[in-house]
Amino acid sequence: MTGETLYPRLEPLLAQVQKPIQYVGGELNAQVKPWEDVPVHWALMYPDAYEVGLPNQGLMILYEVLNERPDALAERTYAVWPDLAGLMREAGVGQFTVDSHRAVADFDLLGVSFATELGYTNLLEALDLAGVPLHAVDRDETHPVVVAGGHAAFNPEPVADFVDCAVLGDGEQAVGDITDVVKAWKEQGRPGGRVELLARLARVDGVYVPRFYAVSYGPDGTIAAVTRTRDDVPAKVGKRTVMDLDEWPYPKTPLVPLAESVHERMSVEIFRGCTRGCRFCQAGMITRPVRERTITGIGSMVDQGLKATGYQEVGLLSLSSADHSEIGQLAKELADRYEGSNTGLSLPSTRVDAFNVTLANELSRNGRRSGLTFAPEGGSERIRRVINKTVSKEDLVRTVTTAYANGWTQVKLYFMCGLPTETDEDVLEIAELATEVIRAGREASGRKDIRCTVSIGGFVPKPHTPFQWAAQASAETIDHRLRVLRAAINADRRIGRSIGMRYHDGKPGVIEGLLSRGDRRVGRVIERVWRDGGKFDGWSEHFSYDRWTAAAAEELAAFGVDLDWYTTRERTEHEVLPWDHLDSGLDKEWLWEDWQEALDEEEVSDCRWTPCYDCGVCPTNGTEIQIGPTGRSLLPLTVVGS
């Protein structure tokens, strides 16, 4: 019978593996619905370890949205560590969901959320463990429909052979439409088999079915054309945008794991989208326009979420949280509400702005005052103009100094390295900056124990951004710049001992670059790497650069292209990019202009406060900016039991 639990066969295996708790489910607010009661069954996967995947907001939202429907159920599945995977293969136990331990192969749909491309090998591992054919063309109507989502789905071409479809943009409404299609097709007795189902799905707004699009290549290796193979599917697939976020207050009852996870807090998304226009930021480009939740909507999500979870900390999540039109009032009124309750409120990394220190002070009134994180991203004023994240050196030093003067002892600064037009000098300015910050901070706070941590990662150009044409810096370039930076920081020990430096070497970024801007030919590299034992590529202890470069060399040679061709090669204006038929709403001509302006070190303003600069998103999608202030305020909560 389908939908049967595998738990009795799994349990003896769990006694033999590390951290077995991650496989048993039973989290607070987890849901289990009877299999036979609903026509449509979704398995939702986050293709990384449970501790990383469980806190993922996207998956939690879809899990609730689907389980609220009377005609669907959703269960979760995560990447299985190699110790258990080995035992499962020996015992013939397939990839399972943690909620009811049902076989993933029994579900109608397998939705996979790709926050990063480094999860691709984990998808192949899960499909193989599930007993689902690796290639979409080899599946029949008894197999689940594999649906990719998340930001990486804006260029799913490297995994086009392995997924049946990809959903572009917000998933809340799209999963409902997909459920309707699958339900109708099943009720009608599955007419036309799998191909007919996929054709129907391809007509759902925001759903891309790669098999209905053919890619041809020119003699120089670039794409000649992408053409649809049926005329009842769209020539260009658009993205989904949920308007009026207050109507979608998910997750209402966030999952609380027993196992430790990477985020030991609850998150409330205070707005979606960002129009700051940072040119490196794919998230800011593909999630436009800005749609805020109202202060009262946020207040009730925080309240309900805390009651449902018992968490001690709430993160106010978004791409640039301090930009919420009601953030000052929100911070004060939330802090008032939770005064004396040991409840901490926090913002993710923020722009470098003195106002953000005031905000952080307010938010930390009731909880732990850990560290403050700012993200200047670029080391020099010049490079910050290139990436359109302008802040002067003086303002940066002043802001961080204010933080130290206000009693924060740990400040973390995020930077990127390998940005377009970057030189060693741009990166070396990070050392100067950190030195000045410590010097001024010691003076302003009168303390010697303040610390500044410089966290720096290699930049990876992403599709649907102005930098999609840029040459990625090689691993050697990144490693060289990190080396000179470290030497510069350590040059003056009296200051350098207060500065920490966290970084990753340049190699994983090169592979991420291959997967980010790759086309369908890259699928063969992914498969080769997985066959050679590659998985958990986001984990340094599992990632093997050599395995990737060897696979790339062998699989790409036949096409006359190579790893460098995909990464360190600058693209020309009219090159057909693998994702050109996938529409984020951004006008390609605008993106190109913005790329040229980046090279000229010209800034662009935020369209929330200045006139529209015609990026194209709102008219293409029929959307608009939704921001406050609403003029409303948060009332104090009535204390239960008083």
């Binding site: 738990y7 349990e11 003896p12 769990l14 006694a15 033999q16 951290k19 077995p20 708790i21 496989y23 048993v24 489910g25 039973g26 989290e27 607070l28 609380v256 027993l258 196992a259 430790e260 030991e264 009651k307 449902a308 979870t309 018992g310 968490y311 001690q312 040991n342 732990r368 005052r369 239960v640 039991g641």
Partner: protein, 255 residues
């Protein structure tokens, strides 16, 4: 001197509650740290008026006594919490039980009575029930006899820093074999020693002395914890508080 946060010190502990809880079903795979996190959150959801430590990172006042290892189930785990106003133990038990995932069930709660001593000193042994699927009771009986006849049975246990020799025999106060055909059950009383002897160690010791190797992993349940008396019985560690409270009925309040 360490820096102190501004503001008044946190409210003091006015009452201590002692609880017995279980680790059942799939939640036997929870580690001690997993359980601690789940309990702290459940205490907040249940709105138990927890006392907190002072300082920049206030922590709720909870002390755990002898946690069962990951993978072992338990009917008898214990902890003590400090609260800032007097509570009815039964109301706390019900509220906390309702806030915890199924499998972590709060089965007993008493108010600590003064002069009865600490909870930790009332626990020096555990009763374990270990299921050995695929092993015949008679087979287990003779293996146990061989084990009990020894003074020392050294087994190698995997620690963070490699294998380490542990004596599994000295800590065993008593052991009996039972069960049914195809599934032997061992009941074993293990004294609390350092390093702790776990149910897995006893099973490994049977392999060492009698070559008893169950075909699948054994399943252990801790049935009781407490002070081992001369008759081989393990006493209820919450008994002294219960006894003292029936003599002097304290003031009661709801949570």
């Amino acid at each position: 001197m360490a820096r102190q946060p501004d503001g008044p010190p946190p409210p003091p502990t006015v009452q201590k509650l002692r609880l017995r809880y279980t680790k059942r079903g799939p939640l036997r795979f929870a580690s001690h740290r997993d359980l601690a996190r789940a309990l702290e959150r459940a205490l907040r959801r249940a709105q138990v008026p927890m006392a907190f430590s002072a300082g920049f990172s206030p922590h709720p006042k909870i002390s755990y006594v002898g946690a069962a290892p990951t993978g072992a189930a338990s009917e008898a785990e214990y902890l003590e919490i400090g609260v800032t106003r007097p509570c009815d133990p039964e109301a706390v038990r019900l509220a906390l039980d309702a806030s915890l995932p199924t499998g972590i069930d709060v089965v007993d709660c008493v108010a600590a009575q003064e002069g009865t001593g600490s909870l930790a000193e009332r626990i020096d042994a555990s009763v374990w029930r270990i299921e050995l699927a695929g092993v015949e009771p008679a087979e287990l009986g003779s293996a146990l006899a061989a084990f009990l006849a020894r003074d020392v049975v050294t087994i190698a246990r995997r620690m963070k820093d490699g294998l380490r020799d542990v004596d599994a025999r000295a800590a065993v106060a008593a052991a009996t074999a039972g069960g049914e055909p195809g599934c032997a059950i061992m009941t074993v009383v293990v004294r609390l020693v350092t390093p702790a002897v776990r149910p897995d160690d006893v099973v490994a010791a049977l392999a060492a002395v009698a070559d008893l190797r169950p075909p699948s992993p054994s399943r252990a349940v801790r049935e009781a914890q407490g002070r081992l008396d001369d008759t081989g019985t393990v006493a209820d560690p919450l008994g002294p508080d219960r006894l003292a409270s029936t003599h002097c009925q304290g003031e009661r309040a709801t949570v």
